[in-house]
Symmetry: C2
Subunit: 540 residues, 2 copies
């Protein structure tokens, strides 16, 4: 390749963000199909690839990993992660905060307090990201969760109405970016009112432009007004704006709506191009070219990074993409990087000592305050009666469930009262009887009162918001049998709102938006269950 | 305290080994009751505590952790871990090898090959331990597993007869110590013929001295002849040798038998004093004093380290322990440390780059060779028929099961053939019908053929070797229903030997002593199941 083309290829490569594991060795990758090997990463970074999205690994491993990737790259990298609920959501050892939607709920009664907390939430996330070598947080979610059945946004959103979502997302942006870490408003132009998951298929949003203006767009306008550095596109079909392309590949959405109408001058990044909604319809090269032509500056996780770069190069050579268009994106990337505060110079000989300061006392306080404020329970709920009984826990999946380490309060505290755990998830032998009025096959459980602990929330790739099992009927069934000892709901507020009215006033019951061990501790404390001797697994 | 007493206390403290987490932050400790906090560790190391046993964390985290602990300590530390099955058994990213007993089986037909492999096993474990900053491997298990119901030794042993156990354990010692890492023969004088777990209670071994000479002691003699640097005591009652004290606290066992009769001059370390077998009967100080008086040099995991050190100091002052006795132990500790090769000087700025060499090509080959050699299956088993069907997996516990990451071959490969996973463990809703002849409640499973995958082995704290469920009857039941599609047993050879004779010759079936993802890949390959697209989670 001539020198000019080589340099041009490097420049185009800098606009590509690939995925790597936060763990150090290839064998530790959880998803080798998506997480590049060290050899691939080294090769692509040598070619000039400009960003890496990281998943997996503890805080200490991530610190080592970001140092290593920066070393492998010639120039400054964009290093990002989907840490929408605190850095500890993905990297153990950092703060794991309650999902944003819980602050949206608080905003109904105490808007100023909720905004102040959202700003601290942003500070906490940004500061810890920076200490671990990340300079780009892929949040806040600016989607309005006005569809409780949304399987993929759900509690990740900051609000159920445009005003709340906008004011809290903007507060998060201010906090995060004040720490010298870029934030990212997503998923433009709004993924809240969908009931399918773009990880699995291409959802359709059949709203008019006027409706988008009134519901979907205000939170993005608020984030932009707060100076958000980047916006991530949604893989959504929006026939009112573009009859042909999904938002990610649509000039009408990215250039006309986002750049011109909303006046956004920062970085536009696609959501992962490897997702089915895109990859089922376009090859890696074509998807990349369409995204740039539509107005994107960065492409995230192309199905094949080299093919995407080569595709962009060819599009420049054939005139499908203009040099001016690429120059704009390069300029925006440089400007964004200039706004990042470098991770403090850590004496490399003692990263663990340094990370002892990772979670500040203020951040520990924030984590506890959020848990306490967002706990929902009767004023003075009855204490759980002593067992022997059944501690029936429902999880999405037990395998590698970070919320349920062996020493989790949800296991140990009921055990100390005599409740033996039965755990069900999507791979359990069926717990169902087949009878609509009495759906739980109680004869397969041990005898005695049942403490029901439901860990239910929407998560990507699950295809459902988790509220589709017959829990209301189970509550009625256990009440009729006089076997319902207590109820704990962790995560989805909509499920709690469905179940709570069915409960007698004196039944020990509570809801926490958080699912992490510390949320369990706060909730169970409310039901009179004190800390168990062996308890562990807190990551505050 | 006068200066002399202070110095004496430091010396006594150097003979205590406490437990820490391999993770960096206190919040990441899995077992906070046993794993000291960073503040406690710093304080105890400042007082001169001389060793730490580590559990948990990835290889990279452990590397940082051992550096940190050495920095916190004034002098050289003994840093150890229970890595009996390769360092990757406990620290992800290092080699996770098949359990030793599988080589004991190979030894029947190919003794020389088995010994050569055991020596490479020792090299692999020692080398990787050293690279991660450990200088002491708490293996080999020298117990003779002549009781298949042993809940705690089981496949951790190197043999089912004294000769095999001795020759393979000695080979492991040679390999490990050639890497400059101390080995440890355990659990003296032999824990193989027990059917209860000393983690939970004090087992009794009612054998005569003559029987001990013929069965239990030979592997220890072999390890001692191979120059093993340390021996760990068992929490066992041996009325033939000592009517009063368990082995750990018995002068007859440690001084008379081990030192005098067997001529062992290395380090004697107790098993964890916090275990119920000891702690239920003695306070921390008294247990430490009794262990030293009996002949131990190092005490492991006292229930309270400061109380243990103070107890030893008081015993010296009152004359219960002699200064000469303590001087001997100090001398042995110094001698052992002098035999350790320090971890190579790693450029601290790039520990991850350095750890890319953690698993050498030879070690990768060893791991694969062991898996292939120890796989048991008919010469040319039939390939598993296509589903739809049920992939029924039985695990000890699904929570944080390292053998079953989300992308494990045992899940993905059958899924690609149409087998949907149902996973049962000790916390599942009961899969049992209550009918002895047809114990599996098949009506609670999906329809179609059943691939049965049993992950069963003895593990500490489980109270059983895992073979006590009615799997033979399940095999007969599924055969009668013409629903048995295949059988995979991972771990316990005794269960396989019980089930294999019940199978038709053409049924796809195999046994691997390993449970890790790579073992699943090797076994399922044998049943015609090729690698699945998303597969991951190998740590070779």
């Amino acid at each position: 390749m001539p020198v000019m083309a080589t340099e041009l290829r490097r420049q185009l490569a800098s606009l590509v963000v690939v995925r790597g594991s936060g763990h150090g060795s290839d064998g530790q990758r959880r998803y080798p199909r998506w997480e590049l090997s060290n050899e691939q990463l080294r090769e692509l970074l040598a070619q000039g690839v400009g960003g890496v999205i990281l998943l997996g690994g503890s805080a200490a491993e991530l610190r080592l990993r970001t140092e290593q990737l920066q070393r492998w790259a010639g120039g400054p990298l964009l290093l990002c992660a989907d840490v929408e609920e605190g850095v500890g959501q993905r990297f153990e050892g950092a703060s794991w905060l309650v999902p944003p939607l819980s602050l949206g709920r608080l905003h109904r009664s105490e808007p100023e307090r909720a905004e102040a907390l959202a700003e601290r939430y942003g500070h906490c996330t940004g500061r810890q990201a920076r200490l671990l070598g990340l300079n780009w947080v892929l949040g806040p979610v600016c989607d309005v969760n006005n569809n409780p059945a949304n399987p993929v946004i759900n509690v990740r959103a900051w609000g159920e109405n445009p005003e709340t979502a906008g004011s809290l997302a903007a507060a998060f942006v201010r906090g995060c970016q004040a720490e010298g870490v870029l934030a990212c408003a997503k998923h433009f132009p709004g993924h809240g009112d969908t009931s399918s998951d773009s990880h699995l298929e291409l959802p359709l949003l059949a709203h008019s432009r006027a409706r988008l203006e009134s519901v979907e767009l205000p939170p993005f306008r608020a984030a932009i007004a707060a100076g958000v550095a980047s916006v991530m596109t949604a893989h959504l079909q929006l026939p009112a704006l573009d009859s042909q392309h999904p938002a990610t590949l649509s000039p009408a959405v990215l250039t006309q709506l986002l750049r011109r109408d909303l006046g956004f001058s920062g970085l536009v990044v696609t959501d992962a191009l490897v997702m089915e909604a895109i990859s089922a319809h376009h090859g890696a090269a074509e998807a990349a070219v369409l995204a740039f032509a539509a107005g994107a500056d960065l492409i995230l996780m192309p199905a094949d990074a080299e093919a995407a770069i080569d595709g962009l190069l060819e599009a420049l050579e054939t005139g499908r993409l203009s040099h001016a268009r690429v120059a704009e994106s390069l300029e925006r990337r440089s400007r964004a990087l200039a706004n990042c505060t470098p991770s403090s110079e850590v004496p490399a000989s003692s990263p663990l000592d340094d990370l002892e300061q990772l979670v500040s006392p203020d951040e520990q306080g924030l984590c506890r305050e959020l848990l306490t404020l967002t706990l929902v329970s009767p004023a003075a709920p009855a204490a759980l009666a002593a067992g022997p009984g059944v501690n029936l826990i429902r999880l999405d999946t037990q395998l590698q469930a970070p919320q349920l380490p062996a020493m989790a309060p949800a296991l140990l505290r009921p055990a100390a009262l005599g409740y033996a755990a039965t755990v069900i998830d999507g791979r359990s032998p069926s717990p169902w009887s087949g009878k609509p009025e009495a759906p739980l096959a109680v004869e397969r459980l041990a005898s005695g009162p049942v403490l029901l602990q439901l860990f239910v929330r929407g998560n990507p790739f699950r295809g459902s918001a988790g509220g589709d099992e017959p829990w209301p009927a189970v509550i009625r069934q256990l009440l009729a049998l006089q076997r319902l000892a207590g109820l704990a709901v962790y995560g989805n507020p909509y499920l709690w709102e469905q179940l709570q009215p069915l409960l007698p006033a004196d039944l020990p019951a509570a809801y926490s938006p958080g699912q992490m061990p510390q949320a369990q501790a706060v909730l169970l404390e409310q039901l009179g269950l004190k800390a168990a001797a062996l308890e562990g697994g807190f990551t505050d």
